[in-house]
Amino acid sequence: MNETAPPPMVPRELALALLTDMVRIRRFEERCADLYGQLKIRGFLHLYIGEEAVAVGAVRALAPDDAIVATYREHGHALARGVSAERIMAEMYGKREGLSRGRGGSMHLFDAATRFYGGNAIVGGGLPLAVGLALADRMQGRARATAVFFGEGAVAEGAFHESMNLAALWRLPVAFFCENNFYAMGTALVRSESQTDLCVKAAAFGVPTSRVDGMDVLAVHHAAREALDHVRRGAGPYFVEFQTYRYRAHSMFDPDLYRDKAEIEAWKKRGPIHKLTHRMKAEGSLDEDDFLALDAAAIAEVERAVAFAEAGSWEPVEDLARDLCAEPAR
């Protein structure tokens, strides 16, 4: 296993882009929580607040034609990928203008244009899918990679082990990005796994691994690039464990009774936005006005998304059964 350290000096343009995306996601999701309280967004809503560095750092390492398979906590990945905030918000409102015409909601964001394959609410469900996407690329002679994001909870699923084996056996270009936030809903990793070193599990399949501070977006980006370089070389899959933390409860229904308040506060002190801002200011590549400007732009983007969703329309009920099959079923 490689312990990956960030490069010493950070190019300003890259750092600024990473910071901007993290703030965009943070502002978007804060507004989502607010809209949930207003009953504008319903169903399950899983916030990524605290974990933004993982999606932002990793997605920025992808090429435009690489594929992403994500989980039900995927607003951040979609936004980092450049999926329209307006169409994401409209989907969360359940509107016709949403990415999935209101069929998916928060957990099922899809975008063919950016090769964003969901939005999968079956824990571990995205893993075999990613293996297949990579297999299709290999069989068609395309040098693309597939990045699959999943939580540490998915490591307990058979799908993880079967997919790791298949990807390694066939040396497929899959980057397995494990977002270890230490809790599978309310169950701590130490309470559910006999082996809590996730890299050891991946190594059992002969897959190279690295473990990264998932609160440090630069470290995440660096590690994701290394993993994707490996994958693109045709050297087979790569597994990265990003250690991170969600500040909010699992979903809006979760009273969060299983975590120690002190633990949450300790992680918040390591916040990814604060960490990068602090570093950039220390290096002289960001001042307070720069930050306020990008924050204001993020808030404006979110408000445009809300306005777009508000102005959206409802899919006609007569179209309930559309997009079921290529032709209507009887």
């Binding site: 899809f110 469900g125 990579a134």
Partner: protein
Amino acid sequence: MKISYREAMREALREALARDPRVFLMGEDVGKYGGSYAVSKGFLDEFGPERVRDAPLSELAFVGAGIGAALGGMRPIVEVMTVNFSLLALDPIVNTAALYRHMSGGQFHVPLIIRMATGAGRQLAAQHSHSLENWYAHVPGLTVVAPATIDDARGVVAAALALEDPVVIFEHALLYNTEGELTDAWRACDLRTARLMREGRDLTLVAWGGTLGKALAAADELAAAGIEADVIDLRVLRPLDDATVMASIRRTHRAVIVDEGWRSGSLAAELMARILEQALYDLDAPVARVCSEEVPIPYAKHLEDAALPQPAKIVAAARRVLGKAT
């Protein structure tokens, strides 16, 4: 030309592989072993290991990978040994393949074929003999077919590929060795309609897959007693072709459904419900059904025979709905 069901299916797969470079086979023992029912025998040499891909015993992962490959532009044909083993892959089939087109608002679709053997009759006992076609036929987003004839075995793969959506093909294990004439009708195989196999006037027998032959045998026996039966090969288990079934019942006014699945919650039950909804006033007698007994399919030959629909049971049911003594 007289060929076996196995040969018809093999030819269908060979044609698909030869015609379209996006098509590949994947599953347990499809390559080196030649297919657990010898359907893909010789393919490894003919098409190579990339396109005839032996998978580990990981039904969840290789069916899920088939879905991913379909999303990625390929046309995978995944073989799962038997319907009993397919339960290990129910999650990707039901939670992913069937949903993606709808859940993505039409952005993605899954042109995937999943083949599996089904059914009893070879003394393989309870974990290799069940008929769970109705589980799959319950799910919107899937097309479910049960080819019973040589022509349909030959035509089903091309028809399934043309749909561009997930198709589950059930091949009754007892059919592989059956032989028959391959006619030009195979080119007209579609995955939306049932077919009238034999025309009568006294009652309608509806069967599919492994029970079609038994229904036809029962019809022969009934004919010898002067009773003429329509025999419908349902062929497609989702979506159901109500029109063909109702048209027959409107002529015969009586029906017996033959289903190798267990009676409770069966496809036979669904067909009976539709007949009540659409043709109640055309009926001269309650609809009857012949299903498997509600026990795990047993090993011993006499017990297995007793558990399954048989021509004699179909004949008896037909005579009952006709009000004739058995």
